[in-house]
């Protein structure tokens, strides 16, 4: 049996439970790789992440931290298209991210490994795994984690195709975001960060990139998440002008 077959077989046994395939994959990776946590996120070039799965609350918090700070191993892995291996956050590894490094350690995380989810040069997001103890991944573990990343890509493509077929069979609804119902149904999406970016850019008369930086700076200064701040901007509780 190939490693990928083993992973898929293992996921098939879990499917009966009320858990999404990406969540199952994260849990399975934790079990077989002896991890403290794992997560899958879709990303875009501005570093806005959309969480698809997390093995637990802390995995989600770690990704959220990077969304808010705009820095961290996931963002580096996505932008470079390469593996980002940080076996010890308390060493030089952590210094690479002045905001993320200490915050992740504050959550008890010591080692983080991020795999870009990509086929060729086209990137979708990241598969990130972490441990509470420092230490590198053995070659075999690195390879197995890569297999999990490959399966994660196939699952994301599969979920999208499923919803494309479903939405092709239904008439187009008129919801707030019926632009791409397949995408919305496949991946719970949060449009507010993007909406708030558009709003802030008009309010402050700046470009979208700068507007996102303003949102992040506001979140950082007020010790809140980017999601929360974006929500307040959309609710018109915060203005940038």
């Amino acid at each position: 049996m190939t490693a990928v077959t083993e992973i898929v077989m293992s996921l098939m046994d879990g499917v009966a439970e009320e858990t999404s395939l990406p969540d199952l994959l994260c849990r399975d990776a934790c079990r077989r790789l002896g991890l403290s946590g794992a997560g899958i996120a879709l990303m875009d070039s501005s570093g806005v992440m959309e969480q698809i799965a997390g093995s637990d609350e802390r995995a989600r918090t770690l990704e959220n931290l990077q969304l808010t700070l705009g820095e961290g191993p996931c963002i580096d892995a996505y932008q470079s298209g390469s593996l980002v291996l940080t076996p010890d956050l308390s060493g030089d590894g952590g210094k690479r991210w002045p905001g993320y490094g200490p915050a992740a350690q504050g959550l008890g995380v010591r080692a983080v490994f991020c795999y870009p989810l990509r086929i060729g040069g086209i990137r979708l997001g990241v598969f990130d795994i972490f441990r509470d103890r420092a230490g590198t991944l053995e070659d075999e573990e690195l390879g197995l984690a890569l297999d999990y990343a490959d399966v994660a890509i196939l699952i994301l493509l599969h979920l999208h195709s499923l919803e494309l077929e479903r939405s092709a069979a239904k008439p187009v609804g008129d919801s707030v975001r019926a632009v791409d119902p397949a995408l919305d149904n496949a991946f719970r999406s949060h449009p507010e960060v993007h909406q708030a970016t558009g709003m802030a850019s008009v309010q402050a008369g700046v470009g979208l990139r700068e507007a996102l930086l303003m949102l992040r700076a506001h979140a950082f200064a007020s010790d809140r998440t980017l999601d929360d701040v974006a929500h307040d901007v959309v609710d018109r509780a915060i203005r940038f002008s």
Binding site: H160, A182, V202, G205
Partner: protein
């Protein structure tokens, strides 16, 4: 990882997988695949071709102009080899004696292509697709290399389909996020909520015959440049034309 499969037929599949690892678009991947067909499947000219519902062909990639010319002839004549199911093969051994598509065959021979092999790939961008191999000599594609060509097409077809899928998902995500940002711009300019902003974009789209996705692109690229005064040219209320 996904592309490497043990293959009894001698083909440099790992090289193909490594080359495709650089691909940034389906077109780019198709160029790489066509190049692979040239060096590893013994063609003088190769290409990846798709077919719309009417059967008209267009090229994702070709290694030589002559293949574009052949398909232009085919589309003009509405005759000639074309869309094939995945795994099927058509071989034209000598275009100077083409019986099935006489006019097209004569044209192919005039263009200097004397034999061809078309291999059906998996669908790309929702359309039937073929890998076309052309030779300047007659009888270049025999039964002895058929298995190798089919195995090559199988690898190329799977790899391109995977890139097709991921490109589709990536573009869908980009478009969706762009529309959300445009929604935010409209929400602020016109003091409306998210649903009203979306309805506004749809109305403008319908009355101006411009897709919502294009409207969003225009709005956000304007905002990215950061030079326009957000208030001056956009005083119109929701519902009026922009």
């Amino acid at each position: 990882m996904i592309l490497v499969v043990d293959e009894p037929v001698a083909l440099p599949v790992p090289e193909l997988a490594a080359a495709l690892d650089e691909a940034h678009t389906l077109e780019h991947a198709s160029r790489i695949a066509a190049g692979f067909a040239l060096t590893s499947l013994d063609a003088d000219v190769a290409g990846v071709i798709t077919y719309d519902a009417d059967g008209s062909s267009s090229a994702l990639a070709v290694t030589g102009q002559v293949l574009l010319d052949l398909h232009a002839e085919r589309n003009a004549l509405a005759s000639g080899p074309g869309a094939l199911p995945c795994g099927s093969v058509i071989t034209v051994s000598d275009t100077r004696h083409g019986e099935r598509w006489p006019e097209w065959s004569a044209a192919a021979a005039r263009h200097g292509v004397l034999s061809l092999r078309l291999l059906g790939l998996q669908a790309l961008r929702g359309q039937a697709a073929t890998l076309d191999l052309c030779s300047h000599r007659a009888d270049s594609f025999g039964s002895d290399d058929l298995a190798r060509h089919m195995a090559g097409a199988e690898h190329i077809g799977l790899a391109l389909r995977l890139i097709d899928r991921i490109e589709h998902l990536e573009q869908a995500m980009q478009t969706r996020d762009e529309i959300s940002r445009a929604q935010g711009i409209v929400m602020e300019r016109h003091s409306v909520n998210a649903a009203e902003a979306m309805a506004f974009l749809r109305r403008v789209s319908q009355s101006s015959q411009v897709k919502v996705r294009q409207l969003a692109r225009d709005l956000t690229s304007e905002a990215t440049s950061g030079v326009t005064d957000p208030d001056v040219p956009h005083k119109s209320a929701p519902g009026s034309h922009e």
